[in-house]
């Protein structure tokens, strides 16, 4: 269990590094995808709510520390996103990436709209349509399409974890002759 958490943390960290160093190289029309938001959604979808919340909290905290002045806002939204996609855990087939794609689109839309309200609308920049067209909508589409690329490596990683965990659990129960207590 601990191993998995550490590996997830490392994955988040890696994506975070990619986001802040190569972010400007990924720009299309001045828009970068929000890669960190994808993580809690994919992990939540593949492993359930708990992992979604955990990954979302870490990713959001890293994002906040680096970018925003309001510490905790992104981690709140990201954990909620992870929880939301965790609802669909085991409801659909695991190779169906359409659900995380839709959830990513919706949560990114909400997240960016909230950031618009906080950063601009409260500073009397009321032209929502412009901001929506120029920033919010392109970012949602770009981020959602990144899910298609990132989903498969994460699923592969997740399968590796599951196999190892099942193996460990089996050998553990063989030694102690008790079923795994923490789940």
């Amino acid at each position: 269990m601990m191993k998995r958490k550490i590996c997830e943390f490392l994955t988040v960290f890696l994506i975070y590094i990619i986001q802040i160093t190569l972010g400007s190289k990924m720009e299309i029309g001045g828009i970068k995808p929000n890669l960190l938001l994808i993580l809690p959604i994919v992990f939540g979808y593949l492993n359930g709510k708990n992992e979604g919340i955990y990954v979302g909290f870490i990713a959001g905290l890293l994002y906040d520390i680096q970018a925003s002045s309001l510490l905790g806002f992104s981690s709140l939204v990201f954990s909620l996103a992870g929880y939301l996609s965790g609802i669909f855990y085991e409801l659909f087939e695991q190779n169906n990436f359409f659900i995380p794609l839709i959830i990513t689109f919706i949560t990114d839309l909400l997240y960016e709209t909230f950031s618009y309200v906080g950063n601009f609308m409260l500073h009397n920049r009321l032209d929502f349509l412009y901001f929506f067209e120029r920033f919010i909508a392109p970012e949602c589409i770009y981020t959602a399409s990144c899910v298609i690329i990132l989903f498969w490596p994460f699923r592969f990683l997740n399968k590796k974890f599951e196999k190892k965990e099942r193996h460990e659990k089996r050998s553990e129960s063989y030694v102690t002759r008790s079923p795994g207590s923490d789940s």
């Binding site: 975070y16 590094i17 986001q19 802040i20 160093t21 190569l22 972010g23 400007s24 001045g30 828009i31 970068k32 929000n34 960190l36 359930g48 709510k49 708990n50 919340i53 909290f57 959001g60 905290l61 890293l62 994002y63 520390i65 680096q66 970018a67 925003s68 002045s69 309001l70 510490l71 905790g72 806002f73 981690s75 709140l76 954990s79 909620l80 929880y83 965790g86 950031s115 618009y116 950063n119 601009f120 500073h123 920049r125 032209d127 412009y130 901001f131 120029r134 920033f135 970012e139 789940s183």
Partner: protein
């Protein structure tokens, strides 16, 4: 069934704890910076060296790629350049004499170019902001290199922005084209003041807004605009850009228009941080 309910509740409670924690963090960070600063320090000590490494790797691969490609071209160029070198040496000698003369004359007029006399340190951009709203960027010099908050940042010929945040091995620079950034500027020849403000809508066109010119001032396209001497954070006389389309406002009292900055913000790689700070009253 019972297990299912238990699982549901645990994750629900976890979510509620996380939400409460986040809201507390948000409220706390509205009032104080103390919470974020140590966290930032911890993260930056790990992240910044990695960023520097990746940046360095990128530079190396780029160099290698270019050198393979241009090897032949360079050899030819070398021949041409050698012949030009002789010409230039001669010209250089002549120009040197001119500079001596110029510096002597400058001393005479006590015009010792303000701009050159600022102490500067070079720094490389190693990271950008991760969201799309802002254009702050991270630079590889920090308080260990003597960088302080509110130091001016220039690149090549013009003003880039201001240091807004300093860590031990990095600092964050906010550019003048960013939304919500205000600089007090003036026309270089007449000294008429204006306010220069970044606007997110103009960022794509690469221009910034200027406003508040007095109605009697005549501003032509291409007039040089520099930081003014009354600005409290920016040093005076740094070139910001050239005026464009300055027109009378509807109130007939002020004029406003746009400025084309001299710095190419889209392709910025290295910047110079001026380590002299403006001495303000407080």
């Amino acid at each position: 069934m019972r297990e299912k309910i238990a699982a549901f509740f645990t994750s629900k409670y976890k979510l509620i704890t996380v939400i409460i924690f986040c809201i507390l963090l948000m409220i706390a960070s509205l009032f104080t910076d103390r919470l974020a600063t140590p966290l930032k320090a911890v993260v930056s000590t790990v992240v910044v060296p990695i960023q520097k490494g990746i940046n360095y790797l990128g530079l190396i691969t780029n160099d290698k790629y270019v050198s393979f490609e241009d090897n032949k071209k360079l050899r030819e160029e070398n021949e041409n350049l050698k012949s030009r070198l002789d010409d230039l040496t001669e010209e250089n000698n002549r120009l040197k004499q001119d500079t001596y003369e110029l510096s002597r004359l400058r001393d005479l007029y006590q015009l010792d170019g303000m701009y050159d006399s600022y102490k500067k340190t070079a720094a490389r951009i190693i990271g950008t902001n991760s969201d799309n709203w802002f254009t702050t960027f991270t630079v590889n010099k920090g308080s260990n290199d003597g960088i302080e908050k509110n130091m001016n940042v220039v690149a090549g010929q013009g003003l880039v922005g201001l240091v807004t945040e300093v860590g031990s091995n990095y600092c964050v620079v906010r550019s003048v084209i960013e939304d919500g950034s205000y600089v007090s500027g003036q026309l270089i020849d007449s000294g008429d003041k204006c306010i220069i403000s970044g606007d997110i809508k103009l960022m794509d066109k690469g221009i910034i807004k200027c406003s508040g010119f007095n109605s009697s001032v005549e501003v032509k396209d291409g007039d040089k605009i520099v930081t003014s001497n009354i600005s409290d954070k920016y040093l005076p006389g740094i070139l910001i850009g050239y005026a464009k389309d300055v027109k009378m406002d509807s109130n007939n009292l002020t004029q406003s228009g746009y400025i084309v900055p001299v710095v190419d913000f889209a392709h910025l790689q290295e910047v110079l941080i001026i380590t002299d700070k403006k001495k303000s009253g407080d």
